[in-house]
């Protein structure tokens, strides 16, 4: 039953965020003792807001 719960959580994450982001979240949740470097890596996750709107046809 626990495996079913995990699978349904993973499916929900993929539906909500897409595969790459869901995998990233799953990886992050496996970090038990985050280091300064782990937090530093989070910094690159958020792009400059302008970049989301680039390449308008």
């Amino acid at each position: 039953m626990e495996a079913l719960g995990i699978i349904s959580t993973i499916v929900a994450l993929i539906q909500k965020y897409g595969v790459p982001a869901a995998l990233q979240i799953i990886n992050d949740w496996q970090v038990d003792n985050p280091t300064i470097e782990d937090f530093e890596a989070l910094r690159d996750r958020v792009k400059d807001p302008e970049t989301y709107f680039e390449d308008k046809p």
């Binding site: 539906q15 909500k16 965020y17 897409g18 982001a21 990233q24 979240i25 992050d28 949740w29 970090v31 038990d32 003792n33 985050p34 280091t35 300064i36 782990d38 937090f39 530093e40 989070l42 910094r43 996750r45 958020v46 792009k47 400059d48 807001p49 302008e50 989301y52 709107f53 680039e54 390449d55 308008k56 046809p57």
Partner: protein, 132 residues
């Protein structure tokens, strides 16, 4: 992407509430940095999904320049609050004092408020773009 936008919109309130609960619960948690790290990780992906959806609608010509400019402005506030929360967490990992812990909590509370504002605005713009 439209489906993700719809999901983001539908779960907007839930995401914000969960984040606030996580922030408020942090002080009582044994794994303070772990929970803080997870909070930032999940919320960053939420923000990315929401902004990407907005960006896609903009590229389809469904969002005005004014709405885009406002989203970029709010995104700038979000990024600043996000980086402040990361800085506070890193400082706490270097020196684990109650004061630094309080700074992390304060930074995360501020961060969750900014995230709430950004997501609320994105929700409004997406609804407007879809004629709702």
């Amino acid at each position: 992407m439209e489906r993700i936008a719809e999901e983001v919109r539908k779960h907007l309130v839930g995401v914000t509430v969960v984040l606030l609960m996580l922030v408020m619960g942090l002080a009582a948690c044994a794994g303070f940095s772990k929970d803080s790290y997870r909070t930032l990780s999940v919320s960053a992906e939420t923000y990315n999904a929401a902004m990407s959806s907005l960006g896609d609608l903009y590229k389809q010509g469904k969002i005005s320049e004014a709405d885009k400019a406002k989203a970029v402005e709010l995104g700038g506030y979000f990024k600043a609050a996000y980086n402040t929360a990361i800085d506070a967490n890193q400082a706490y990992l270097v020196v684990k004092t109650d004061q630094n812990r309080d700074k992390v909590t304060a930074a995360l509370i501020e961060y969750s408020k900014v995230l709430g504002k950004v997501l609320e605005y994105i929700n409004e713009v997406i609804a407007k773009a879809k004629g709702r």
